[in-house]
């Protein structure tokens, strides 16, 4: 899964270094340095940055889900956000039935995995070989369906969901940093690392990577390609569930529109990082999260209000696709005529 990034490092020994990647890495390092200096000099800057990183990790998690699905099945799952929202409602429901947060969290992830695999097998497999439009429409239908189901089962009113991290803050050199933000980043980080480890170190993960890279060759060594794709969707659903569960505490209430905006940010992040690059998706998410938060925080409301965040993300998406379609870390080019 992270073979794209690691193999570029290995390329140092076995092949040529991609100059584009070096530029990007330098640019990111520069950005990180800029952020660090800013944080040290201004409390507001530090708070905005941490907040941006926290919400950016949510974007990154959902973006990673999108990339996983795309790499495995070459499909953009437009319903990824709604699926994440659905699993968040499931968690809420479990907690209403007496489960405390973390057991509910774990159970939700398991349910998400099952749901993801089932959806791939029942809905996507039959239309996979058909046109892009067909699959897009199926995921669009799924978007609508899930939204309807959630409204039907739980209604569209506001639900209160207890944040597992409470309302407290750490004091870091005089800067208050909410437990929530740290918690969000830690949970996403751990989830991502676990998924990464699965891909990198297990036989199953190797099989999945092989199935995504060259399904025909993978079948010849005995990999059940169809099952790998289903598992890929399952894992993506898990990452989406993490994104939804970590996004919810940032809102006042749980509502069905929880993930609709986040999906767009996740698209932008995935494209920014390169649709085939998992590392890129995460970095993209963090970048967008921090950038948007800083912009909205510092630029006066009348020029760029918080309402413009989404259109800005759209603009970013558009510009990236026009200028460097393979994203920051991607290798393949978007087909053009």
């Amino acid at each position: 899964m992270v073979s794209a990034a690691t193999s570029r490092l290995e390329g140092v020994r076995g092949g040529s270094i991609d100059p584009g990647t070096v530029t990007v890495v330098l640019f990111l390092l520069g950005g990180a340095v800029f952020l660090l200096i800013g944080c040290l000099r201004s409390t507001t800057f530090a708070q905005l940055t941490i907040e941006g990183l926290a919400i950016g990790s949510v974007y990154g998690s959902l973006a990673l889900a999108l990339v996983l699905v795309y790499r495995a099945t070459h499909v953009i799952n437009f319903a990824q956000g709604e699926l994440a929202m659905f699993t968040t409602y499931i968690a809420w429901d479990l907690m209403q039935h007496g489960l405390s947060y973390w057991p509910a969290f774990a159970a939700t992830l398991a349910i998400a995995f099952a749901l993801g695999t089932v959806l791939q097998v029942t809905l996507i497999r039959p239309v996979q070989h058909r046109s892009v439009i067909a699959v897009v429409i199926v995921t669009v239908g799924l978007f609508i369906l899930i939204d309807g189901v959630v409204n039907w089962i739980w209604g569209g009113d506001f639900k209160l969901m207890k944040s597992p991290f409470g309302l407290g803050s750490f004091d870091v050199g005089g800067v208050p940093i909410r437990h929530l933000y740290v918690g969000m980043m830690v949970v996403v980080f751990v989830s991502v690392v676990l998924v990464w480890a699965l891909f990198r170190f297990t036989k199953l993960g190797l099989g999945m990577r092989a199935a995504a890279l060259r399904p025909d060759a993978a079948a010849l060594v005995g990999v059940r390609v169809d099952s790998m794709l289903a598992i890929g969707w399952g894992l993506a659903a898990v990452l989406g569930a993490v994104a939804g569960l970590m996004a919810e505490p940032t809102q006042l209430f749980l509502t069905p529109v929880l993930m609709q905006q986040i999906l767009v940010y996740a698209f932008a992040a995935a494209v920014l990082g390169g649709l085939e690059s998992p590392a890129g998706a995460l970095v993209g998410g963090l970048t967008i999260g921090v950038s948007l938060n800083l912009i909205v925080g510092y630029v006066p409301e009348k020029y760029v209000g918080s309402n413009l965040q989404l259109p800005l993300a759209f603009a970013v998406l558009l510009v990236i696709l026009l200028v460097k379609p393979s994203g920051l870390f991607g290798r393949r080019e978007v087909r053009r005529v």
């Binding site: 073979s3 794209a4 193999s7 290995e10 390329g11 020994r13 076995g14 092949g15 036989k203 190797l206 099989g207 990577r209 092989a210 890279l213 060259r214 025909d216 060759a217 993978a218 079948a219 010849l220 060594v221 005995g222 990999v223 059940r224 390609v225």
Partner: protein, 235 residues
């Protein structure tokens, strides 16, 4: 003694185009058999029919049992390793990962096979952490062969291993195939354009033309055959 692999009246087509018109052949256990013929004769399709990569009708028996219509992954699990045209290696994965994939269907440790493979191909051990795509064509072909071996197959299907390789490398490759056959008891069915080298390494062969078997016999018989000499051996 029943052969390890028996094809009887196998037909195959790609959409409306019939490529195999009733192929029958047999591969004895422990032997090296080659399939020769011009381009488009259906040699590759024959291997694909065996590994389940293409739809076919007719009977295929492996180890005495009918080979059901399994997909390629099922066939691999039965112990048939297919090294396709173009090698089927994963250029984005490391050499080591490629080898490990060879053992995908195996339970238990693949250490012994890996060690054997490294003794045949020492360079694979040195370059194990490199991306497979950085290997040369010949090295990738060796990697493909090594990977197939890790599967511990009962039958190895080799598709045009000499394609795109310098003659020296091809000779080396066939030498190793022969060695694997003699030392490890590996049964090999190899499709080849280079009839000369193939017949040297093989015990028996079949000649395919336009989807039919036109000639078969031991490799000595084929080498002595006039039509084979004229069409495929060049003299």
């Amino acid at each position: 003694m029943t052969a390890l692999l028996e094809l009887e009246d196998v037909e195959a087509r790609y959409g409306p185009v019939h490529v195999l018109h009733g192929i029958s052949l047999a591969v004895e256990e422990g032997s090296v058999v080659t399939v020769l013929g011009p381009n488009g004769a259906g040699k590759t399709t024959t291997l694909r029919a065996i590994s389940g990569t293409v739809r076919r009708s007719g009977s295929i028996r492996f180890g005495g049992n009918a080979l059901k219509r399994l997909g390629p992954d099922g066939v691999a699990r039965l112990g048939i390793a297919h090294v396709p045209e173009g090698r089927g290696t994963f250029s984005e994965l490391t050499v080591w990962e490629n080898l490990r994939l060879g053992g995908y269907t195996r339970r238990g440790s693949i250490r012994p096979e890996l060690e054997r493979v490294f003794s045949y191909f020492p360079f694979l051990s040195e370059r194990r952490r490199q991306q497979a795509g950085t290997l040369s064509g010949g090295e990738q072909q060796m990697l493909a062969l090594a990977r197939a071996f890790v599967l511990r197959p009962r039958l190895l299907l080799l598709d045009e291993p000499s394609l795109g390789l310098a003659p020296v490398l091809v000779a080396e490759l066939f030498r190793i195939v022969r060695e694997l056959n003699e030392k490890e008891g590996l049964t090999v069915l190899v499709v080849e354009q280079n009839a000369h080298l193939a017949l040297q390494a093989a015990d028996a062969g079949y000649v395919l033309e336009a989807g039919h078997v036109v000639l078969s016999g031991s490799s000595e018989e084929l080498r002595a055959d006039d039509s084979v000499r004229r069409s495929y051996l060049g003299y």
